[in-house]
């Protein structure tokens, strides 16, 4: 097979194969998550869906790995030389590490859907930077490159996974706070309060007996005691779900997501060849993120307890922070070898430094009593904005030694 055919094959493996498999697996997993509070037959279907999702995810990862290998063969070098390749590998690392972590360490495979959705989003973003396979600039041709770049890419992927869990934590926490505030309002005249038949009869404000998936036992359900086929229990649970969803104002969430994404995606507005192309990309990215946020809002009732997501976000960030640190040091060493200076405040070096500071801030905030919880999660979200912003800006806007965007 010639390198042209290999290039074509690698493109096909990437799109549609990998992207569709990730998306499909994400949808199936998310469906399975919704059945955990359903009737018995629903749960059976949910378990089946989870198995199907697993198969799709493994197929997707296989296709993705195959894409990377074929692309590597087509251009006879490691596929880590330009933005498309780096972003694509970032998605692969994020998905593989995220799924393995949830499966083997956390043992919460029902959350896989969110990781896969994040992976599909990053994969789609890489499509915006697609470049045909080609050779490498000689300055990049050294063993330092795979070492330095792959560490940073792995860190980026894991930071992305951490961002997903920070965002989910914030969503769930907001919803719970809103429900709690609503319930503790004197008079209890809200529709939420009325939904709890038990509350009304006892005249007390309590958690629904079984419906809240975040009761003190700390497992997904608390729904072990729930009789899935009891209509009254079901109604209670569904009312609680609706209340949780209402706790996150959709318009505010959409607007916030749009503006938050715009903090990063304005780069496309200013750097595309034509104004309309730039606007197209800008809107594509922003609206996709808004859609993802709204989907996540719908899934708020099915999320695990806030402490779990907070913990996952912290562990993943800590791990990625170590990788980022080592990768940045490796980059400084490469710069010393290749450019004769180890640090020159090049845009990308500044970006790496900023990201490091931002995530160091997150880890310190986690260790500080006053800022824990929501404050820390917001810092985590801001740190991811810094990461993506510096990544795009240093490649597209400011031309420096690291600008390999259009190779």
């Amino acid at each position: 097979m010639g390198s042209d055919q290999l290039a074509e094959l690698s493109r096909l493996l990437y799109f549609p194969t990998t992207l569709m498999l990730y998306l499909g697996a994400a949808v199936v997993y998310l469906y399975a998550l919704t059945t955990t509070v359903g009737r018995t037959e629903d749960r059976e279907r949910g378990r089946l869906a989870q198995r199907i999702g697993g198969v799709l995810a493994v197929l997707g990862i296989t296709a993705h790995v195959a894409h990377e290998i074929v692309r590597g063969l087509a251009q006879d070098r490691l596929p880590l030389g330009n933005m498309f390749e780096v972003t694509s590998l970032m998605a692969l690392v994020g998905v593989v590490v995220g799924l393995s972590y949830l499966r083997f360490v956390r043992r919460r495979p029902e959350l896989n859907g969110f990781v896969l959705l994040g992976g599909a989003l990053v994969l789609g973003m890489a499509m915006l930077m697609y470049a045909e396979p080609g050779p490498l600039m000689p300055i990049l041709d050294t063993w330092w490159r795979p070492f330095h770049v792959s560490l940073l890419v792995a860190a980026m992927g894991i930071f992305a996974a951490a961002f997903v869990f920070n965002a989910l934590y914030l969503l769930r926490d907001t919803a719970e706070l809103a429900v709690a505030a609503d319930r503790s309002r004197p008079g209890g005249g809200s529709t939420v309060g009325a939904a709890y038949v038990g509350d009304v009869s006892d005249g007390a404000v309590t958690e629904p007996a079984s419906g809240a998936p975040d009761t003190a036992t700390g497992s997904t359900g608390g729904d072990e005691e729930l009789d899935p086929d009891d209509e009254r229990d079901r109604a209670e649970v569904l009312a609680y779900h609706r209340a949780l969803r209402r706790g996150v104002p959709a318009v505010k969430l959409a607007l916030g997501t749009f503006l938050g994404t715009a903090l990063v995606s304005w780069v496309w507005l200013t750097t595309a060849d034509t104004w309309s192309a730039g606007l197209g990309r800008f809107l594509t990215v922003n609206l996709t993120m808004v859609a993802a946020a709204l989907v996540a809002r719908w899934f708020v009732p099915f999320l695990p307890p806030t402490a779990t997501m907070d913990g996952i976000a912290h562990r993943t960030t800590a791990f990625a922070f170590v990788l980022w640190t080592v990768g940045t040091i490796a980059g400084a060493m490469w710069a010393e070898v290749s450019w004769g200076r180890f640090w020159g405040w090049d845009p990308k070096e500044t970006g790496a430094f900023l990201t490091w500071i931002a995530y160091a801030g997150y880890l310190h905030a986690r260790a500080t009593r006053g800022v824990k919880g929501r404050g820390a999660a917001w810092i985590g979200v801001a740190a991811f904005i810094v990461l993506m912003g510096t990544y795009l800006i240093a490649n597209y806007v400011i031309v420096g030694l690291h600008s390999y965007a259009d190779l």
Binding site: S3, A7, Q75, V105, R106, E132, P133, G134, P135, L136, M137, P138, I139, D141, T142, W144, G218, A307, G311, H314, R315, A318, F319, F321, V322, T325, V326, I329, A332, M333, W334, E336, V337, S338, W339, G340, R341, F342, G344, W345, D346, P347, T350, G351, F353, L354, I357, A358, A360, G361, H364, A365, A367, T368, G370, V371, V386, I393, I398, L407
Partner: protein, 555 residues
Amino acid sequence: MPESALPPQQNPPVRRRRAAPPGPVAFVWESVLMGWRWLARMRTALYLLLALAILSIIATAVPQEPNVPSTVTAWREGEAGPGVGVSRVLDAVGAYDVYGSAIFLAVLLALYISLTACLIPRIKAWVRLVRRSQPPIVRHLGAQDERTDFVTDRSPTEVRAAAAELLGRRRWRVRPHDAHPEDPRPDQVAAEKGLWAREGGSLVFHLSFYVLLAAIVLGQLLTFEGQRGVVEGDPGFRDTAVSYWSYSPGRWFGEGDHQGWRFELERFHVDWVRDPLAPGAGQPTVFRSDVRITPADDEPFDAVIYSNRPLNLDGTRITQLDWGYAPRVVVEVDGEVVHDTFLTPVITDGGFFRGAVKAPAADPDVGLDVFLYPFAPDGEDGRPVPTGAPWADAPLLVFQQYRGDLRLGATQQTINELDVEALTSEGFGALRLGQSLEVEGVTVSFPELRRWVGYQVSSRPQLPFLVLGSGLLVVGLLGSLYAYRRRLWVVTMVDAAAPRTLVTVAGRSFQRPEAFEEEFADLVAELMAATGGAPADPHPGPETPAAVTAVETTR
């Protein structure tokens, strides 16, 4: 008499307030203390980190003088950027050199003071921890994260010895406790791990910043960096203070610290992907210098420099920075040669190389603005067609000729730029390799084309310290994030009913309880195997409360 009725002097306050010295001294002292305490707060450190981040953002958005001086000049003169007025404000606050500005240094200093203020009590506490602390002996196990009971035929002493040996092998700190008859605490082996390592790792991580700072400051003093362009086959240059085009030594780097070798470039290899249809068309594929080094008091030797492989001469590195074509341009005025050297033009965005000829030997001065198109093949009409391709298959040298005053020494100018203020243009010319042309009595010829390479020569004695600092940083980070604090107790009791030993293993995890679960199960299994233990009866004794509730711990 009740205690509260005692006269006050017999019941002194726990902490006696020091009588403050009156006057301004007290005010200053109190202020310093207040500032110190403010700096020691974590929140302050976060604000300072934020300030550092904002300064870096400014440095990214505004061109920095040490990096791109020409852009800064353009901004100052209003040719680019937001205009002269804004530029003046930027200059006033030091935004053109953020990393050298007083604000940046102040933030950095505050950050280091804050770090110091934060670390001193922590280091004291850590030393106390390491010197004094021991795994605690428990009286009752109470509620722990993990707990298992088993029975064995071995004696309690044997079981405790086995447990101590097992835990010691797994690098726990072990404290055996054999109770006296009147001791209310049961016989046990207490153990803990991770308590020193976690905090110690965090301390090492933070202390590594002092090593990095020291290395950077040392670097400012001892380092040396010089740039120099060399044409292929030229005599090259010697490593002395005066032979570099740009030269920035550290404060403590003297002229005697140069090694005095001679450097010659024999040949420079560069190539590209020439097929316009191939992927990555036009990209360079190789940059390689074949050089000859003559040490000050030794035989010459040959060496090769690649893009990522600088030459290392006893700690002095020679790195390839840039390159260009070096046309030899000969200028004759009235039969007299006034200029005959290789130019070192630099590449421009248009794909051509731009340089200048300055011939003050002629009267009036001759100046040529030179444009070299490496690949400009003849078109169908016989006229050269410049392309952007960088390979020199059909080089074309285009020049614009000036006469007048070059103003050398009067104004700041680079070797590749003419100051045309006092010059008048006399016309254009275009030359193929080997041709010559006469314009207004000046004969310009282009007999030879070579290449030149810009090298950076640098000496950085601080590098080992930077590597040391980075290593400490990573090791400390790993310790502070991945050393988990755990405590464990193995309590043995003699079963009064039967001649056997009741063993209770209990543990507490301060981080990652879910990882401890497995580790604990592992330990218990190994201990049971070592002592021939069997699971305890389903009815626990009075000393073992059944309910073990999960305790939320910080992860």
